[in-house]
């Protein structure tokens, strides 16, 4: 429990760092810290495979790509673009409203899960997860969830073909 609190606090501080940093590169690095603490939390839940995948996919690939893009387009400090002359109502642009609604929906979903008990940890003990073994994950992934799994791989294939088409440049 003590370790959980430590890692959760680091994750929250890193998450705040992502949205409050003035430099985009710092945001990306805070995101990396956040992903690393999530991996630590997975290890504490006996899901070592998920932790390793979290590091490989998110820390190793996604954050690197984010950093790559930021560095290519220049990672200067962000300016304050708030306009004090605008009224509060005029500042509510469509992306902001959508973001706020989605955040509220997420909060509501988490709250609902906590109240009804579907999010409680009792159903996910280490033994039920077979100590996070690769075999346990693989058997579930290739039997019960084979259709979503294959659909995800088709999605990746489509992304890859799209990248090739864009890069062809003819």
């Amino acid at each position: 429990m003590f370790l959980f609190i430590v890692f959760a606090l680091i994750a929250i501080v890193a998450g705040l760092g992502v949205i409050l940093s003035r430099k985009p590169v710092y945001s990306a690095l805070f995101l990396l810290v956040n992903f690393a603490t999530l991996a630590a939390l997975y290890i504490m839940l006996q899901a070592q495979f998920l932790a390793a995948v979290q590091i490989i996919v998110y820390a190793g690939a996604i954050v690197v790509l984010i950093l790559f893009v930021i560095m290519l387009i220049g990672g200067g400090e962000l300016r304050d673009i708030r306009d004090p002359n605008k009224t509060l109502l005029r500042r509510l642009t469509a992306p902001r409203v959508t973001g706020a609604v989605l955040a509220l929906l997420l909060l509501a979903a988490i709250g609902y899960g906590l109240i009804t008990g579907t999010l409680n940890s009792a159903s996910g003990s280490a033994a039920a997860f077979n100590n996070g073994s690769v075999q346990a994950i693989a058997s579930v992934l290739y039997t019960d969830y084979v259709l979503p799994f294959e659909l995800a791989s088709v999605l990746l294939l489509v992304g890859m073909i799209g990248a090739v088409v864009l890069a062809k440049n003819e």
């Binding site: 590169v25 495979f49 390793a52 995948v53 690939a61 950093l67």
Partner: protein, 387 residues
């Protein structure tokens, strides 16, 4: 005699018994974990001290020179002299560098190099932590290096450093795929990702069963450690020194240590996955021989890597990426499919291995033939000799 036969394990038991005399149980655990961690963290440093000397000697002999021979007999204290020089050098931070990121990058790259050692089995039951995802852990830790290099290159506020960092990303991401595919073949054959189990189940070294996976892994590993002929990220003649051009003193030292630590770790992983790790004659009866075999095999792999470095000229970046995507990835993928099919055959394991070996040799032959043909076409098109 029994004590000597399994010396390291028995010594660890004696040590634990000795300190439990005066300490409570939890303190014994803490002390032992700290000691284990200290040994693992020291591995890259030891690797640097030993390997810089070895590398200079080997490269010197390849280039028909003597190599270091001034400090101590055969120059064996050269590395220590270098270390002292590095320690007392001035620490320079560029004026417009991003200081926090600039200072964090060397630490992060060293952490990556040190953490690899946690899953490497030096002998039977001599492993920091036999994780059930050991092989995957190696890949995960390896991917941290990419971020550290990118941080160093960007924070230096230097164009050469940034170009070096971009090359690293292209190179490491491309070569990670054949590396993971060839590790995947071994995991498939063994049926477990535990490094201990992988060694235990190699009654014949996997380099003799899966030569394609072995060669692919070694080539990808050279690229991942950024050594010649894949040292595009620090190509001196093109971008000065790449991502660590602005570092000096001990911060440069961390990159240096991480480089040699990674070299030794990659050789140790090659030994574990493909050369049978600590297995060898009489290693079963006398486990004390295990670490000895392990070190001999690792040094042999390191020597081969140095040999390659001393022999081959540097690739061009487009050739290098094309080699990864057009040669290594297809070969590794076909190999993976073949091995997966061979494992389903209802025959004894030895026959399965033979089937795998035949398939591997066929893949190797086809790949080399296609490479030779394309080289001939290239030579003909450009009017070069050898067409």
């Amino acid at each position: 005699m029994d004590y000597i036969r399994d010396f390291f394990i028995n010594f660890a038991h004696s040590w634990t018994t000795w300190i439990s005399g005066g300490l409570p149980g939890w303190a014994v655990t803490v002390v032992n974990f700290l000691l284990g961690g200290l040994i693992l963290v020291m591995m890259p440093v030891i690797a640097t001290l030993a390997l810089t000397w070895m590398e200079r000697k080997v490269i010197g002999r390849i280039q028909n020179r003597l190599g270091p021979n001034r400090v101590g007999p055969w120059g064996i204290f050269q590395a220590i002299a270098d270390a002292v020089k590095m320690l007392i050098k001035e620490d320079i931070i560029p004026d417009r560098a991003d200081r926090p990121v600039f200072n964090l990058a060397p630490i992060l790259i060293f952490v990556g190099a040190a953490m690899l050692w946690a899953v490497i089995p030096f002998g039977r039951r001599m492993i920091g932590q036999d994780l059930n995802i050991g092989a995957l852990y190696v890949v995960a830790i390896g991917s941290i290096t990419t971020v550290a290099v990118l941080m160093a290159g960007w924070a230096s506020n230097n164009k050469f450093a940034l170009i070096g960092a971009f090359r690293v990303v292209a190179q490491l991401l491309s070569y990670e795929i054949p590396m993971v595919l060839s590790i995947g073949v071994v995991v498939l054959v063994v049926g477990s990702m535990r490094m201990g189990t992988i060694v235990e189940s190699q009654w014949v070294p996997f380099c003799l069963v899966l030569p394609v996976a072995f060669i692919t892994y070694v080539l990808a590993a050279i690229a991942e450690t950024g050594r010649a002929p894949f040292d595009l990220l620090e190509a001196d003649s093109e971008i000065v020194a790449g991502y660590f051009v602005e570092y000096s003193g001990l911060k440069f030292g961390w990159f240096y240590i991480a480089e040699y630590g990674n070299l030794m770790a990659v050789s140790a992983i090659t030994t574990t996955l493909f050369l049978g790790g600590w297995r060898g004659p009489f290693a079963g009866a006398a486990p004390v021989l295990g670490p000895l075999y392990f070190i001999i095999k690792t040094v042999l792999v390191i020597f081969v890597l140095m040999w390659i470095r001393g022999t081959l000229p540097r690739f061009r970046i487009d050739q290098m990426l094309a080699f990864a995507w057009k040669v290594l990835v297809p070969a590794a993928l076909v190999n993976l499919l073949w091995v997966a099919a061979a494992l389903k055959l209802p025959v004894p394991q030895a026959v399965q291995y033979a089937v795998m070996l035949v398939g591997n040799l066929a893949i190797l032959g086809v790949t080399l033939t296609l490479l030779g043909q394309s080289a001939k076409q290239h030579a003909k098109r450009h009017g070069l000799a050898g067409a």
